[in-house]
């Protein structure tokens, strides 16, 4: 039997298409074509998902084909495949905004598939009162990372600005501004702290980008980013610095003292040889007494109603399939995961923050924006925030830059309807 299984795996991995695998699968007791899942993961995420799926194939005798699309092209790929009349059975979105866009093509799910997540998470995958997605993993996006002792006492936003303004040998911040999502994450943290209702409204049907909290958040950002000597190599280099390069700036080459981003900074630090003892993560500073908690996550949606699809989905939300994520250091917003399932003190702490009863997370706004505001390289909210960054760091008065940015957001938001 082992030989047969190995053969099937080989076929699944190497075969050119679903049609070609059909006879082999039928031969070993598996009926129908494999369940096809479209994901945009790479690296550890993809490896982990492959392991989970392979476990499912062994136990449930259902073939699964993982369709990996590069980078941020899930949206474009899915559009093309829907037009071609050949959608995958399941797709993993990093942007729940896509649920809105593809809702007519999605299959409503059994509500108890979301029984193990808190109301906030469930609500994010509900449209018109029906559940359309299950959360596989989550990200904590309100963290500042530094080497021990390099950036002490950052509890309020004013502390961060003061630290940035104080002259020092090493520049304070490395910002991966080449990746637009890093900049939108900055903005979202400030806005989430300033006014959570306005934040949620921007993700809704009637966004108002000229509101005061939006302008305030942008103004605060502009006043920080424009400080001289803040970035290693200047703001021009920051715009060419990708997210992983910004982590290297702090934990590899020691060219900056502080980098802002989510829990997924930890594996990047590990990949360049950094140990847990040489890194510290603190919460994003509080603004007006409120500490923001911005989260991201990967949600899986169904585009077919086949029994095999439903079985795989049910498997993926079970504890057995959730544990591999946790063991790799990813956060899973599920009550089926216990605190001591997490491998490190840091991940336990972050998981606590995500699932605490009084936690009030805000899901990444740019990932919920659709239409012309949907972010991508050179596009949508990413582009607008990069332009804002460029403006405030090249001498455009902050108020002018803020007005321009609000206009750009509003114009794009209105164009999408």
């Amino acid at each position: 039997m082992t030989a047969v299984r190995a053969h099937r795996r080989t076929v699944l991995r190497a075969a050119a298409g679903a049609a070609a695998t059909l006879p082999m699968l039928a031969g070993c007791g598996v009926t129908g074509r494999p369940v096809e899942v479209t994901v945009s993961w790479s690296g550890t995420e993809l490896d982990t998902f492959r392991r989970i799926v392979s476990d499912f194939q062994h136990t449930d005798r259902i073939g699964v084909a993982i369709d990996v699309v590069p980078g941020n092209e899930v949206d474009a790929t899915l559009t093309a495949r829907l037009r071609a009349g050949n959608p995958p059975d399941l797709a993993v979105f990093t942007e729940p905004g896509l649920i809105t866009k593809y809702r007519p093509h999605l299959v409503p799910l059994d509500p108890d598939l979301a029984a193990d997540v808190t109301a906030y998470w469930r609500h994010l995958a509900v449209r018109h009162g029906r559940l359309y997605g299950c959360w596989l993993k989550a990200a904590h996006k309100s963290l500042l990372w530094h080497r021990p002792g390099r950036a002490p006492g950052l509890s309020r936003w004013a502390d961060l600005v003061e630290l940035a303004a104080r002259p020092s040998g090493t520049p304070l911040l490395s910002v991966g501004a080449a990746d637009g999502w890093v900049l939108t994450d900055w903005f979202e943290n400030l806005l989430a702290a300033l006014d959570k209702h306005e934040y949620e409204r921007l993700a809704g049907a009637d966004p108002h980008w000229h509101s005061e909290p939006v302008a305030t958040a942008l103004r605060m950002l502009g006043r920080l980013w424009r400080l001289p000597g803040l970035f290693p190599g200047g703001p021009g280099r920051a715009l060419l610095t990708t997210f992983d390069a910004s982590v290297v700036d702090v934990f590899g080459t020691d060219r900056a003292r502080l980098v802002f981003e989510g829990d997924f900074v930890a594996p990047v630090i590990a990949s360049i040889g950094g140990t847990p003892s040489r890194r510290e993560a603190v919460r994003f500073p509080s603004v007006g007494g409120t500490r923001p908690l911005v989260v991201g996550g990967d949600v899986i949606v169904a585009l077919s109603d086949r029994p095999d699809t439903r079985r795989l989905l049910r498997h993926l939300v079970g504890r057995r399939a959730r544990l591999p994520w946790v063991r790799q250091g990813f956060l899973v917003p599920s009550t089926r995961i216990r605190r001591d399932d997490y491998p490190t003190a840091l991940s336990r702490r972050l998981a606590d923050e995500l699932t605490a009863p009084d936690a009030d997370p805000r899901f990444d706004l740019s990932d919920r924006l659709a239409g012309q505001l949907a972010g991508d390289d050179g596009k949508g909210s990413w582009l607008i925030m990069q332009q804002f960054f460029r403006d405030v760091t090249t001498g455009v008065p902050v108020d002018t830059a803020v007005r321009r940015t609000c206009d750009a957001f509003q114009t794009a938001a209105e164009a999408q309807t």
């Binding site: 190497a14 993982i66 280099r237 715009l239 991508d376």
Partner: protein, 616 residues
């Protein structure tokens, strides 16, 4: 009875086709008669069926549909121009596209000519030329990766940045962060030049070698001035070659899309955006409005057609590449003395230019190779100064990259075989049998060769859906075939055009029973060309990025898109990506180097043979 020409290789395995025997009947009427009396017209049309069906369904119809959408979508039942007005808002993008498609090729042709002239003065210049031409075979994704590495803003990692900051440190001034939004277009163009400058150098060198030495020396001996020589002998030839190069380079400039996706950081992409990328981001199938998106595609297509077809038509004189002219010793000596008259200074300049070009052209490859000999973590932190390590190559073996490469290999071989079979049949019909309307069909085929796949994605996908082939590997194969057939047909058309009726007649007259008749004679002549065309198509598919991105199904991620996917964590994954890129680039390089003689012959035939038939 003329002696039959030697048949190379053992061709006994060929089936005894009788088709070409009929040619003799046609040929007795001469090439002009061939155009009038066509007993085999139906046969010629039969050979054209695969081409017509595939191009018709997968290129022509989707193109027409896109034009139709651009003209009518949102026009309330009529035809209007408001879609074009909406698309026109991206005028900067259009201007940049024109710079890529016209200004850059013109500049490259001028520089290429200068280099070709300079290289004539130095020894071992053949080696330098070969070095300059080689990058043409390298996938644009690999070229883009090499240059992204070269221009990395961190001096420890980016060799070019290191040099620039050293110079800046010495002489003052800032470091040009080549990938920034102000300079990204130049950075992209430098990579494009690295890939395509060698083409014009090689072609000009070949043309200069064909200038009739005797006649030039006669003119000079009789007191003619250099200016006259240029005007009479060089200019008419160079002008037409330049037009051809303009067409080829203009077509290649559509590849700036690949470079942009790979080389430009997200923040710089808007500043370097060309229509290709604009269509990719906002065009058909991205959820944008159908009309403006289609109009944008049509505008892009119009630019390409103007830059590619216009030069070909404007200069389609009855000229073909003349043979290399050695000339007599006296004439060569005279010319050589003339050339030396400039003195040692010019010679030294030529040497420096040749050497500099050779060194410059080696750098990207060396940087890539050197980078791959580090560990990912080491390179991320200490860059080129980190200790050497084989980790990246060891990691490549179990990274899942090899199955990707094997899959791409199988796909490319499959596409090449199908394309050569279909294009060979079509080219035989168009270039040799020449049924009524072959001229029109050739024009359509040439236009099809310029259609960019991004421009017609939407109708193309719905076409495939109608065929029940959506998102499957046959769909990927079909799209590759549809976009490979036009250019291959054009190349092979030249090949069949250069076949000599006299030689074929001789082959038949020799001993038809033994030699198998003209069929084998034809095959003996064209099989190297068929093989070369197959090799070129293989390279085309292997190097592809955009068709793979659009049409690759689950389980078959071609190597190009797979490499693009690794760029998400480029800084902390550089060594591994470099190793993968080298492997990716070496495959087409090996194919082209192994077959370069056949490929050059095919290209010359393709470029020059088109008008041959009328000369015989």
């Amino acid at each position: 009875v003329t002696k039959p020409p030697e048949v190379r290789g053992n061709l006994a395995w060929l089936p005894r086709l009788r088709l070409a025997d009929r040619l003799l009947v046609l040929d007795d009427l001469g090439p002009h008669g061939r155009d009038r009396v066509r007993p085999q017209v139906w046969q010629a049309y039969l050979f054209l069926v695969p081409l017509v069906v595939i191009l018709g369904l997968l290129v022509v119809w989707p193109s027409l549909r896109t034009v139709w959408q651009a003209l009518t979508a949102g026009c309330h039942g009529g035809v209007c121009g408001h879609n074009f007005a909406a698309a026109w808002s991206g005028w900067r993008v259009l201007l940049r596209t024109l710079a890529w498609a016209v200004a850059l090729p013109v500049a490259m042709i001028a520089v290429g000519f200068g280099l070709a002239v300079a290289l004539r003065r130095i020894r071992h210049s053949g080696l330098v030329t070969a070095l300059l031409v080689t990058p043409m075979a390298v996938p644009m994704v690999a070229t883009g990766l090499a240059f992204r590495l070269l221009y990395d803003p961190e001096p420890d990692r980016g060799a070019a940045t290191a040099v620039a900051s050293w110079v800046a440190g010495r002489f003052g001034g800032g470091t040009p962060e080549a990938l920034g939004s102000g300079t990204i277009t130049f950075a992209l163009m430098s990579a494009f030049c690295w890939a395509y400058l060698g083409l014009s150098v090689a072609v000009f060198r070949r043309v200069l070698a064909a200038i009739p030495v005797e006649q030039v020396s006669m003119v000079l001996a009789e007191g003619g001035r250099r200016r006259d020589v240029y005007r009479w002998f060089y200019w008419p030839v160079l002008f037409r070659v330049a037009a051809l190069l303009l067409a080829v380079t203009g077509l290649a400039s559509a590849r700036s899309f690949d470079l942009l996706l790979v080389m430009a950081p997200g923040s710089s992409q808007p500043a370097g955006e060309v229509v290709a990328l604009h269509v990719w981001r906002y065009g058909p199938g991205t959820g944008a409005e159908v009309g403006p998106a289609a109009a944008l595609s049509v505008l892009w297509f119009a630019i390409l057609v103007c830059t590619v077809i216009a030069p070909l038509f404007a200069f389609r004189a009855r000229w073909r590449m003349p043979p290399v002219d050695e000339g007599s010793d006296v004439a060569r000596e005279l010319l050589a003395r003339r050339e030396r008259r400039g003195g040692t200074v010019r010679h030294a300049v030529a040497w420096v230019v040749g050497l500099a070009a050779a060194v410059l052209w080696l750098i990207p490859a060396l940087v890539l190779a050197f980078t791959s000999l580090h560990s990912d973590a080491g390179f991320a932190v200490r860059g080129l100064r980190s200790p050497l390590s084989g980790a990246a190559w060891a990691g490549l073996l179990d990274s899942g990259y090899l199955p990707t490469a094997v899959g791409t290999l199988l796909l490319a071989v499959g596409v090449a075989v199908v394309v050569v079979a279909f294009s060979g049949l079509a080219a035989y019909a168009l270039g040799w049998l020449r049924p009524p309307g072959h001229g029109v069909i050739m024009v359509v085929v040439m236009i099809c060769a310029t259609v960019p796949v991004q421009a017609i994605t939407d109708p193309l996908v719905s076409m495939l859906a109608h065929a029940g082939l959506p998102g499957s590997w046959p769909a990927l194969l079909l799209v590759h075939v549809a976009f490979g057939i036009p250019i291959t047909t054009v190349l092979l058309y030249g090949t069949f055009g250069t076949l000599s009726p006299e030689q074929l007649r001789a082959a038949a007259a020799g001993d038809p029973q033994v030699s198998g008749g003209p069929v084998r004679a034809v095959f003996a002549r064209i099989w190297p060309n068929l093989f070369a065309a197959g090799a070129l198509e293989f390279v085309q598919v292997w190097n592809d990025l955009v068709i793979g991105l659009l049409f690759a199904p689950a389980q078959l991620q071609p190597a190009g898109p797979a490499l693009l996917g690794t760029l998400r964590y480029f800084t902390t994954n550089t060594a591994g990506v470099s190793a993968a890129t080298l492997v990716y680039a070496l495959v087409p390089l090996a194919v082209v180097l192994l077959l370069h003689r056949q490929i050059v012959r095919l290209l010359l035939g393709g470029l020059t043979g088109t008008w041959k038939a009328e000369e015989t």
